[in-house]
């Protein structure tokens, strides 16, 4: 079963608001994760300008030797991306599901300030449950 290394959510200005790693392979300390987040934000923005195709919305998938990086950008500019083993399937569905969880448990929470780091218990619990289920059966959404 292909593995997920880590999950990131970055706000529209490129700041990291949520980071979760799974397993020792993807573990990163706080500074590194912040650096990756802002790096990805810039690369995503630059790719929109560099693209030879008109109307490009940014990078969806980055494939490297040791990992794949799938990215989903919402209409508001919030980016959800996951770093996983090469060849992992259904990551786009996972990202879309994560977006649903974000709109439910983060945006409907009166104690959450917009663009701030996410500290919502319910969001983290449901996300762990989704990842667990993903390990057992592929998300067929």
């Amino acid at each position: 079963m292909a593995a997920i290394y880590n999950l990131y959510i970055i706000n529209k200005s490129g700041g990291l608001i949520f980071y979760k790693d799974y397993g020792s392979a993807g573990r990163m300390d706080t500074n590194d994760s912040l650096r990756v987040a802002s790096l990805w934000h810039s690369m995503h923005a630059i790719s929109q300008q560099l693209s030879p195709v008109l109307g490009c919305a940014g990078i969806d998938l980055l494939e490297a030797d040791n990992f794949d990086l799938h990215c989903f950008q919402s209409l508001t500019g919030t980016k959800f991306f996951v770093v996983c083993e090469p060849g992992t399937l259904h990551m786009e569905n996972l990202l879309k599901y994560m977006y649903e969880l974000y709109t439910d448990y983060v945006l409907k929470n009166p104690f959450y300030e917009m663009e701030m780091p996410i500290r919502c218990e319910l969001f983290e619990i449901s996300l762990s449950q989704a990842i667990q289920k993903d390990r057992v059966a592929l998300l067929g959404r």
Binding site: K108, N109, P110, F111, C120, E121, L122, F123
Partner: protein, 205 residues
């Protein structure tokens, strides 16, 4: 125009009959509205106790109106001209009003009856309505630094409004009760009736 039906136009909104009401309302819409209510009240207060009191007061207004509406609607279902002798009677007994809140009010507001209704073991005047997870709390995660604050205070206010308007003054509060083996605590609405209610109940036998 062919086929145009005559809809009676009311010149004054007060003359329009009360409708049956929508059976379903968008949960997301309510969640956002409730979230805004909490955030607005947060800006107006200095401490958590004050916030809880404000939410309860907001609920109280809802509860009072809810009782009036439910009494009116239940009467109208009959559609009989002799509704003076038919239809629902006003609840005068403690258990009657409690099961009214536990079943009818909960069904209308949250789409299901409450999980359980219990009598308190320590005090004579305490009753508890429990729910695995209150609908208003469904998407809310309380930050650690807010301690025991519960947005269910709004629901506690609704219950207080219903009881007060029905003639059973009480102090109603919402509490989280941690459950073994469950990640999320259960919510309990604790109802503590006033002295006069218990005296009247004892007199009625």
């Amino acid at each position: 125009m062919i086929g145009a039906s005559k809809i009676k136009q009311y010149s004054n909104v007060l003359e329009k009959p009360l409708s049956k009401g929508k059976q379903e309302v968008s949960l997301s819409a309510f969640a956002f509205l409730f979230s805004e209510l909490v955030q607005y009240n947060q800006t107006q207060v200095d401490n958590i106790a004050e916030l809880e009191r404000r939410l309860e007061d907001a609920g109280y207004a809802v509860g009072a109106r809810c009782l009036e509406l439910l009494c009116h609607r239940e009467k109208c279902v009959m559609f009989m001209p002799f509704w003076l002798s038919q239809g629902n009677r006003r609840e005068t007994r403690l258990l009657g009003i409690l099961s009214f809140v536990h079943s009818t009010v909960w069904k209308v507001l949250f789409g299901k009856v409450a999980d359980s209704l219990e009598k308190g073991t320590e005090h004579e005047d305490e009753y508890m309505i429990s729910e695995k997870e209150l609908l208003v709390n469904r998407f809310i995660s309380i930050p650690k630094d807010m301690g025991t604050f519960n947005c269910g205070a709004f629901v506690a206010g609704i219950v207080r409004g219903v009881l007060d308007s029905a003639g059973f003054p009480a102090v109603v509060t919402a509490h989280f009760v941690p459950m073994e083996g469950q990640q999320r605590p259960r919510t309990t609405i604790l109802i503590k009736f006033a002295e006069e209610v218990l005296r009247r109940e004892a007199r009625l036998g």
